[in-house]
Amino acid sequence: MIQHIDVHAVLQESVSGVYTDLVTRPTGRVVRERIERAMATAQDPVTVTRIDFTGVGCIDYSCADEIVAKLLRDRRAVVVLSGISEGHREAIEPVLAGHGLAALIERREGGNGELEALGAPEAAAALVDELVARRLAVRTPAGTIALTLA
Protein backbone atom coordinates (compact mmCIF):
# COMPACT_ATOMS: atom_id res chain seq x y z
CA MET A 1 0.00 0.00 0.00
CA ILE A 2 1.07 3.58 -0.64
CA GLN A 3 0.32 5.96 2.20
CA HIS A 4 -0.22 9.60 1.22
CA ILE A 5 0.74 12.38 3.61
CA ASP A 6 -0.19 15.98 2.80
CA VAL A 7 2.57 18.10 4.38
CA HIS A 8 0.70 21.36 3.78
CA ALA A 9 -2.26 20.03 5.77
CA VAL A 10 0.05 18.79 8.52
CA LEU A 11 1.72 22.22 8.63
CA GLN A 12 -1.62 23.98 8.92
CA GLU A 13 -2.51 21.75 11.88
CA SER A 14 0.90 22.20 13.47
CA VAL A 15 1.46 25.96 13.58
CA SER A 16 -0.90 28.71 14.50
CA GLY A 17 -1.98 31.10 11.80
CA VAL A 18 -2.08 30.51 8.11
CA TYR A 19 1.58 30.04 7.28
CA THR A 20 2.50 27.95 4.28
CA ASP A 21 6.26 27.97 4.78
CA LEU A 22 8.22 25.19 6.40
CA VAL A 23 10.69 27.24 8.38
CA THR A 24 12.38 26.87 11.76
CA ARG A 25 13.43 23.75 13.61
CA PRO A 26 10.57 23.71 16.11
CA THR A 27 8.09 23.72 13.22
CA GLY A 28 10.04 21.02 11.42
CA ARG A 29 10.11 18.90 14.55
CA VAL A 30 6.35 19.16 15.11
CA VAL A 31 5.59 18.40 11.46
CA ARG A 32 7.95 15.39 11.44
CA GLU A 33 6.49 13.99 14.63
CA ARG A 34 3.00 14.21 13.15
CA ILE A 35 4.19 12.49 9.98
CA GLU A 36 5.88 9.77 12.04
CA ARG A 37 2.68 9.29 14.01
CA ALA A 38 0.67 8.96 10.80
CA MET A 39 3.19 6.45 9.45
CA ALA A 40 3.13 4.44 12.69
CA THR A 41 -0.63 4.30 12.97
CA ALA A 42 -1.51 3.39 9.36
CA GLN A 43 -4.06 0.59 9.46
CA ASP A 44 -2.81 -1.34 6.44
CA PRO A 45 0.80 -2.41 6.02
CA VAL A 46 2.60 0.47 4.34
CA THR A 47 5.28 -0.24 1.76
CA VAL A 48 5.72 3.24 0.38
CA THR A 49 4.96 6.58 2.03
CA ARG A 50 4.39 9.43 -0.40
CA ILE A 51 5.06 12.73 1.36
CA ASP A 52 3.45 15.45 -0.68
CA PHE A 53 4.82 19.01 -0.42
CA THR A 54 2.26 20.55 -2.79
CA GLY A 55 1.11 23.91 -1.41
CA VAL A 56 4.17 24.35 0.79
CA GLY A 57 5.90 27.68 0.10
CA CYS A 58 9.46 27.95 1.28
CA ILE A 59 11.42 25.18 3.00
CA ASP A 60 14.52 26.27 4.86
CA TYR A 61 17.56 24.12 5.61
CA SER A 62 16.53 23.62 9.22
CA CYS A 63 13.16 22.20 8.23
CA ALA A 64 14.66 20.12 5.43
CA ASP A 65 17.00 18.60 7.98
CA GLU A 66 14.41 18.19 10.69
CA ILE A 67 11.78 16.63 8.41
CA VAL A 68 13.32 14.98 5.37
CA ALA A 69 16.74 13.94 6.69
CA LYS A 70 15.41 12.61 9.99
CA LEU A 71 12.52 10.74 8.37
CA LEU A 72 14.95 9.07 5.99
CA ARG A 73 17.50 8.35 8.69
CA ASP A 74 14.91 6.53 10.79
CA ARG A 75 12.86 5.25 7.87
CA ARG A 76 10.41 2.45 8.37
CA ALA A 77 9.04 2.47 4.84
CA VAL A 78 10.22 3.66 1.45
CA VAL A 79 9.73 7.42 1.37
CA VAL A 80 8.85 9.22 -1.85
CA LEU A 81 8.76 13.02 -1.90
CA SER A 82 6.25 14.57 -4.28
CA GLY A 83 5.15 18.11 -5.11
CA ILE A 84 8.77 19.25 -4.85
CA SER A 85 9.55 22.61 -6.45
CA GLU A 86 12.97 23.90 -7.53
CA GLY A 87 13.08 25.97 -4.36
CA HIS A 88 12.35 22.93 -2.20
CA ARG A 89 15.14 21.03 -3.92
CA GLU A 90 17.58 23.80 -3.10
CA ALA A 91 17.03 23.18 0.58
CA ILE A 92 16.65 19.40 0.53
CA GLU A 93 19.53 18.39 -1.76
CA PRO A 94 22.46 19.79 0.27
CA VAL A 95 20.94 18.57 3.50
CA LEU A 96 20.70 15.02 2.15
CA ALA A 97 24.22 15.18 0.73
CA GLY A 98 25.53 16.40 4.07
CA HIS A 99 24.05 13.35 5.80
CA GLY A 100 25.12 10.90 3.08
CA LEU A 101 21.42 10.20 2.45
CA ALA A 102 19.26 9.98 -0.65
CA ALA A 103 15.55 10.45 -1.23
CA LEU A 104 13.21 9.60 -4.04
CA ILE A 105 11.57 12.56 -5.73
CA GLU A 106 8.47 12.04 -7.81
CA ARG A 107 8.80 14.19 -10.91
CA ARG A 108 5.16 14.33 -11.99
CA GLU A 109 2.32 15.35 -9.80
CA GLY A 110 -0.50 12.92 -9.17
CA GLY A 111 1.40 9.73 -8.46
CA ASN A 112 2.83 6.91 -10.56
CA GLY A 113 5.32 9.42 -11.90
CA GLU A 114 8.92 8.85 -12.74
CA LEU A 115 11.28 8.91 -9.83
CA GLU A 116 14.60 10.56 -9.36
CA ALA A 117 17.02 9.84 -6.55
CA LEU A 118 18.26 13.01 -4.93
CA GLY A 119 21.14 13.42 -2.48
CA ALA A 120 24.49 11.75 -1.97
CA PRO A 121 25.38 9.90 -5.23
CA GLU A 122 26.39 6.60 -3.58
CA ALA A 123 23.32 6.56 -1.37
CA ALA A 124 21.13 7.44 -4.36
CA ALA A 125 22.50 4.53 -6.42
CA ALA A 126 22.10 2.12 -3.51
CA LEU A 127 18.52 3.29 -2.93
CA VAL A 128 17.55 2.71 -6.55
CA ASP A 129 19.20 -0.72 -6.56
CA GLU A 130 17.36 -1.66 -3.39
CA LEU A 131 13.97 -0.59 -4.74
CA VAL A 132 14.48 -2.46 -7.99
CA ALA A 133 15.68 -5.56 -6.11
CA ARG A 134 12.58 -5.43 -3.91
CA ARG A 135 10.44 -4.94 -7.03
CA LEU A 136 8.98 -1.76 -5.66
CA ALA A 137 10.30 0.10 -8.71
CA VAL A 138 11.39 -0.70 -12.24
CA ARG A 139 13.91 0.93 -14.52
CA THR A 140 12.17 2.57 -17.47
CA PRO A 141 13.45 2.55 -21.07
CA ALA A 142 14.15 6.27 -20.65
CA GLY A 143 16.70 5.44 -17.97
CA THR A 144 14.61 6.60 -15.03
CA ILE A 145 12.74 4.52 -12.48
CA ALA A 146 9.04 4.26 -11.69
CA LEU A 147 7.10 2.82 -8.79
CA THR A 148 5.44 -0.53 -9.43
CA LEU A 149 2.73 0.14 -6.86
CA ALA A 150 -0.34 2.16 -7.76
Binding site: V23, T24, R25, G57, Y61
Partner: protein
Protein backbone atom coordinates in the same frame (compact mmCIF):
# COMPACT_ATOMS: atom_id res chain seq x y z
CA UNK B 1 26.06 60.08 36.01
CA UNK B 2 25.24 59.57 32.33
CA UNK B 3 27.76 58.41 29.76
CA UNK B 4 27.52 59.62 26.18
CA UNK B 5 27.60 57.32 23.15
CA UNK B 6 27.71 59.18 19.84
CA UNK B 7 25.74 57.66 16.96
CA UNK B 8 27.71 58.26 13.73
CA UNK B 9 26.19 60.69 11.24
CA UNK B 10 26.40 58.01 8.53
CA UNK B 11 25.60 54.90 10.51
CA UNK B 12 26.30 51.65 8.67
CA UNK B 13 28.42 48.54 9.10
CA UNK B 14 31.65 50.50 8.52
CA UNK B 15 30.96 53.24 11.05
CA UNK B 16 29.56 50.63 13.43
CA UNK B 17 33.11 50.10 14.77
CA UNK B 18 33.26 53.75 15.81
CA UNK B 19 29.91 53.28 17.55
CA UNK B 20 30.98 50.01 19.19
CA UNK B 21 34.14 51.71 20.48
CA UNK B 22 32.12 54.52 22.02
CA UNK B 23 29.70 51.98 23.50
CA UNK B 24 32.50 49.84 24.97
CA UNK B 25 34.16 52.87 26.53
CA UNK B 26 30.92 54.19 28.02
CA UNK B 27 29.58 50.88 29.30
CA UNK B 28 32.56 50.00 31.51
CA UNK B 29 31.27 51.33 34.82
CA UNK B 30 27.55 50.53 34.64
CA UNK B 31 26.38 54.13 34.45
CA UNK B 32 23.29 55.13 32.49
CA UNK B 33 23.98 55.62 28.78
CA UNK B 34 22.81 58.39 26.48
CA UNK B 35 22.85 57.47 22.79
CA UNK B 36 23.12 60.72 20.90
CA UNK B 37 21.73 60.45 17.36
CA UNK B 38 20.79 64.12 17.00
CA UNK B 39 23.31 64.65 14.18
CA UNK B 40 22.42 61.46 12.33
CA UNK B 41 22.02 61.96 8.59
CA UNK B 42 21.55 58.40 7.42
CA UNK B 43 21.41 54.91 8.87
CA UNK B 44 21.50 51.58 7.10
CA UNK B 45 19.32 48.69 8.36
CA UNK B 46 22.49 47.40 10.05
CA UNK B 47 22.88 50.68 11.92
CA UNK B 48 19.26 50.69 13.05
CA UNK B 49 19.17 47.13 14.38
CA UNK B 50 22.64 47.60 15.87
CA UNK B 51 21.43 50.64 17.79
CA UNK B 52 18.51 48.62 19.16
CA UNK B 53 20.91 45.88 20.25
CA UNK B 54 22.98 48.51 22.08
CA UNK B 55 19.82 49.75 23.80
CA UNK B 56 18.96 46.20 24.80
CA UNK B 57 22.44 45.64 26.24
CA UNK B 58 22.48 49.00 28.03
CA UNK B 59 19.48 48.25 30.21
CA UNK B 60 20.74 47.91 33.76
CA UNK B 61 19.35 45.04 35.82
CA UNK B 62 17.36 46.30 38.78
CA UNK B 63 17.25 49.89 37.55
CA UNK B 64 13.99 51.46 36.37
CA UNK B 65 15.91 53.89 34.19
CA UNK B 66 16.17 52.97 30.55
CA UNK B 67 19.08 54.23 28.47
CA UNK B 68 18.45 57.59 26.82
CA UNK B 69 18.24 58.24 23.11
CA UNK B 70 18.34 61.64 21.48
CA UNK B 71 16.43 61.33 18.24
CA UNK B 72 17.76 62.78 14.98
CA UNK B 73 16.89 66.44 14.55
CA UNK B 74 16.69 66.40 10.77
CA UNK B 75 13.03 65.94 9.83
CA UNK B 76 13.72 63.68 6.84
CA UNK B 77 15.96 61.42 8.89
CA UNK B 78 13.40 61.24 11.65
CA UNK B 79 10.66 60.36 9.20
CA UNK B 80 12.82 57.74 7.56
CA UNK B 81 13.76 56.06 10.84
CA UNK B 82 10.09 56.04 11.79
CA UNK B 83 9.03 54.55 8.46
CA UNK B 84 11.73 51.94 8.85
CA UNK B 85 10.01 50.84 12.08
CA UNK B 86 12.91 51.87 14.31
CA UNK B 87 11.05 53.97 16.86
CA UNK B 88 8.29 51.40 17.30
CA UNK B 89 10.92 49.07 18.76
CA UNK B 90 13.10 51.77 20.33
CA UNK B 91 10.22 53.04 22.46
CA UNK B 92 10.43 49.90 24.60
CA UNK B 93 14.18 50.12 25.08
CA UNK B 94 15.02 53.80 25.38
CA UNK B 95 13.76 56.93 27.02
CA UNK B 96 13.54 58.91 23.81
CA UNK B 97 14.15 62.64 23.64
CA UNK B 98 12.94 64.49 20.57
CA UNK B 99 9.67 64.89 18.77
CA UNK B 100 8.74 61.88 16.70
CA UNK B 101 6.61 62.23 13.58
CA UNK B 102 3.31 60.39 13.35
CA UNK B 103 4.00 58.19 10.37
CA UNK B 104 3.40 54.49 10.09
CA UNK B 105 6.17 52.01 9.33
CA UNK B 106 6.50 51.67 5.57
CA UNK B 107 4.33 49.23 3.69
CA UNK B 108 5.09 50.32 0.13
CA UNK B 109 8.65 51.48 -0.33
CA UNK B 110 12.22 50.25 -0.43
CA UNK B 111 11.76 49.09 3.14
CA UNK B 112 11.04 45.45 2.34
CA UNK B 113 10.75 44.56 5.98
CA UNK B 114 10.63 47.25 8.67
CA UNK B 115 12.64 46.69 11.81
CA UNK B 116 10.91 43.61 13.22
CA UNK B 117 11.48 41.85 16.52
CA UNK B 118 12.55 38.20 16.48
CA UNK B 119 12.04 36.40 19.74
CA UNK B 120 10.62 33.01 18.81
CA UNK B 121 10.09 30.62 15.92
CA UNK B 122 6.65 32.14 15.36
CA UNK B 123 8.32 35.49 14.58
CA UNK B 124 10.48 33.83 11.93
CA UNK B 125 7.34 32.43 10.30
CA UNK B 126 5.83 35.91 10.20
CA UNK B 127 9.02 37.44 8.77
CA UNK B 128 9.32 34.85 6.00
CA UNK B 129 5.63 35.06 5.17
CA UNK B 130 5.67 38.87 5.02
CA UNK B 131 8.79 39.23 2.94
CA UNK B 132 8.16 36.87 0.06
CA UNK B 133 5.71 38.77 -2.06
CA UNK B 134 7.51 42.10 -1.80
CA UNK B 135 10.99 40.61 -2.11
CA UNK B 136 9.96 38.67 -5.19
CA UNK B 137 9.18 41.85 -7.14
CA UNK B 138 12.33 43.66 -6.02
CA UNK B 139 14.71 40.73 -6.54
CA UNK B 140 13.43 39.92 -10.01
CA UNK B 141 12.62 43.31 -11.48
CA UNK B 142 15.18 45.56 -9.85
CA UNK B 143 18.10 43.27 -9.03
CA UNK B 144 17.77 41.02 -12.06
CA UNK B 145 17.74 37.80 -10.05
CA UNK B 146 15.97 34.75 -11.37
CA UNK B 147 12.44 34.68 -9.88
CA UNK B 148 13.36 31.29 -8.41
CA UNK B 149 15.94 33.08 -6.25
CA UNK B 150 13.16 34.48 -4.09
CA UNK B 151 12.77 31.23 -2.22
CA UNK B 152 16.50 31.09 -1.56
CA UNK B 153 16.29 34.62 -0.26
CA UNK B 154 13.52 33.62 2.14
CA UNK B 155 15.61 30.63 3.25
CA UNK B 156 18.62 32.84 3.92
CA UNK B 157 16.47 35.28 5.86
CA UNK B 158 14.90 32.48 7.87
CA UNK B 159 18.24 30.98 8.82
CA UNK B 160 19.71 34.36 9.76
CA UNK B 161 16.75 35.03 12.05
CA UNK B 162 16.92 31.56 13.57
CA UNK B 163 20.41 32.28 14.81
CA UNK B 164 18.79 34.68 17.25
CA UNK B 165 16.10 32.26 18.37
CA UNK B 166 18.48 29.34 18.80
CA UNK B 167 21.70 30.94 20.00
CA UNK B 168 21.26 34.44 21.36
CA UNK B 169 19.41 33.62 24.55
CA UNK B 170 17.45 36.82 24.05
CA UNK B 171 15.41 38.55 21.36
CA UNK B 172 16.76 40.54 18.45
CA UNK B 173 15.71 42.41 15.34
CA UNK B 174 15.75 42.02 11.59
CA UNK B 175 15.30 44.61 8.84
CA UNK B 176 15.39 44.24 5.07
CA UNK B 177 15.79 47.09 2.67
CA UNK B 178 16.59 47.77 -0.98
CA UNK B 179 18.55 50.84 -1.93
CA UNK B 180 20.92 52.30 -4.45
CA UNK B 181 24.42 51.85 -3.07
CA UNK B 182 26.26 54.71 -4.68
CA UNK B 183 29.36 54.69 -2.51
CA UNK B 184 30.43 51.16 -3.21
CA UNK B 185 28.74 49.73 -6.23
CA UNK B 186 26.70 52.37 -7.94
CA UNK B 187 23.90 49.84 -8.23
CA UNK B 188 20.95 48.61 -6.28
CA UNK B 189 21.31 46.14 -3.44
CA UNK B 190 19.06 44.30 -1.05
CA UNK B 191 20.36 44.28 2.50
CA UNK B 192 19.35 42.00 5.35
CA UNK B 193 20.48 43.12 8.80
CA UNK B 194 19.99 41.03 11.93
CA UNK B 195 21.19 41.99 15.39
CA UNK B 196 20.86 40.92 18.98
CA UNK B 197 22.59 41.65 22.26
CA UNK B 198 22.62 38.03 23.38
CA UNK B 199 25.43 35.71 24.36
CA UNK B 200 27.28 35.81 21.03
CA UNK B 201 28.91 33.05 18.98
CA UNK B 202 31.83 32.42 21.33
CA UNK B 203 29.65 31.75 24.34
CA UNK B 204 27.14 29.73 22.32
CA UNK B 205 29.79 27.42 20.86
CA UNK B 206 32.05 27.24 23.91
CA UNK B 207 30.72 24.00 25.46
CA UNK B 208 31.29 21.98 22.29
CA UNK B 209 34.17 23.77 20.54
CA UNK B 210 36.52 25.48 22.98
CA UNK B 211 38.53 22.35 23.80
CA UNK B 212 39.19 21.71 20.15
CA UNK B 213 40.70 25.17 19.76
CA UNK B 214 42.47 25.28 23.12
CA UNK B 215 44.37 28.54 23.67
CA UNK B 216 43.24 29.78 20.24
CA UNK B 217 39.62 29.88 21.36
CA UNK B 218 38.28 33.41 20.86
CA UNK B 219 35.46 35.37 19.24
CA UNK B 220 37.30 35.15 15.92
CA UNK B 221 37.78 31.38 16.25
CA UNK B 222 34.11 30.95 17.09
CA UNK B 223 33.02 32.95 14.05
CA UNK B 224 35.40 31.02 11.82
CA UNK B 225 34.10 27.72 13.18
CA UNK B 226 30.48 28.72 12.61
CA UNK B 227 30.70 30.39 9.21
CA UNK B 228 33.59 28.58 7.52
CA UNK B 229 33.49 25.14 9.14
CA UNK B 230 29.73 24.99 9.72
CA UNK B 231 29.98 23.83 13.31
CA UNK B 232 27.09 24.15 15.70
CA UNK B 233 26.70 24.01 19.46
CA UNK B 234 24.44 21.01 18.95
CA UNK B 235 25.98 17.58 18.44
CA UNK B 236 23.26 16.58 15.99
CA UNK B 237 25.04 16.10 12.65
CA UNK B 238 22.31 18.00 10.81
CA UNK B 239 23.07 21.22 12.66
CA UNK B 240 25.14 24.04 11.21
CA UNK B 241 23.35 23.86 7.85
CA UNK B 242 21.89 27.34 8.11
CA UNK B 243 25.00 29.47 7.64
CA UNK B 244 26.33 27.02 5.04
CA UNK B 245 23.07 27.42 3.13
CA UNK B 246 23.30 31.21 3.29
CA UNK B 247 26.86 30.99 1.93
CA UNK B 248 25.74 28.82 -0.99
CA UNK B 249 22.97 31.25 -1.83
CA UNK B 250 25.29 34.25 -1.69
CA UNK B 251 27.95 32.50 -3.77
CA UNK B 252 25.39 32.03 -6.51
CA UNK B 253 24.29 35.67 -6.50
CA UNK B 254 27.65 37.29 -5.79
CA UNK B 255 26.47 38.40 -2.38
CA UNK B 256 28.25 39.21 0.85
CA UNK B 257 27.83 38.11 4.45
CA UNK B 258 29.55 39.63 7.46
CA UNK B 259 29.04 38.58 11.07
CA UNK B 260 30.25 40.57 14.03
CA UNK B 261 30.28 39.06 17.49
CA UNK B 262 32.13 40.14 20.61
CA UNK B 263 35.49 41.51 19.51
CA UNK B 264 35.66 39.97 16.03
CA UNK B 265 34.08 40.24 12.63
CA UNK B 266 34.17 37.73 9.78
CA UNK B 267 33.10 38.24 6.18
CA UNK B 268 32.77 36.28 2.98
CA UNK B 269 34.00 38.99 0.65
CA UNK B 270 32.89 39.04 -3.00
CA UNK B 271 35.11 40.54 -5.69
CA UNK B 272 33.23 43.83 -5.76
CA UNK B 273 34.04 44.54 -2.11
CA UNK B 274 37.28 45.37 -0.31
CA UNK B 275 36.25 44.28 3.17
CA UNK B 276 38.66 42.32 5.36
CA UNK B 277 37.79 38.61 5.74
CA UNK B 278 38.54 38.48 9.46
CA UNK B 279 39.10 41.23 12.01
CA UNK B 280 39.99 40.56 15.62
CA UNK B 281 40.59 42.86 18.57
CA UNK B 282 37.61 45.09 17.82
CA UNK B 283 35.82 46.96 20.60
CA UNK B 284 33.67 44.53 22.60
CA UNK B 285 30.01 44.63 21.63
CA UNK B 286 27.42 42.16 22.93
CA UNK B 287 25.58 39.54 20.91
CA UNK B 288 25.85 39.06 17.17
CA UNK B 289 25.20 41.31 14.20
CA UNK B 290 24.72 39.84 10.74
CA UNK B 291 24.85 41.71 7.44
CA UNK B 292 23.82 40.15 4.13
CA UNK B 293 24.07 42.09 0.86
CA UNK B 294 22.74 40.90 -2.48
CA UNK B 295 23.71 43.17 -5.37
CA UNK B 296 21.96 43.90 -8.62
CA UNK B 297 23.12 41.29 -11.12
CA UNK B 298 25.49 42.12 -13.96
CA UNK B 299 28.99 43.49 -13.77
CA UNK B 300 29.83 44.21 -10.14
CA UNK B 301 33.23 45.76 -10.64
CA UNK B 302 33.53 48.48 -7.98
Amino acid sequence: MTRLVDVPAQFDDRSFEQFAGAYAAAATDGERLLFDAHAAEWASPYGLVGLLAAGQAARRPGSPDRPLLTAPTHADVLTYWTRAGFFREAAELFEIHGKLPRVKPAEQSDVLLPVTPVRAAEDVHAVVSNIQQRASAILASELGLDPKATMGFAMALSEACQNIVEHAGTGGWVAVQAYHWRRKLARRVVVIAVADAGVGFRHSLEPTQSKRFGARWSDAAALEAALIQGVSRFRDPGRGQGLAGIRRYLARWDGKIAIRSGTARIAIVPKWDDDVPLKDGLPAFPGAQVLIIIPEQGSTTP
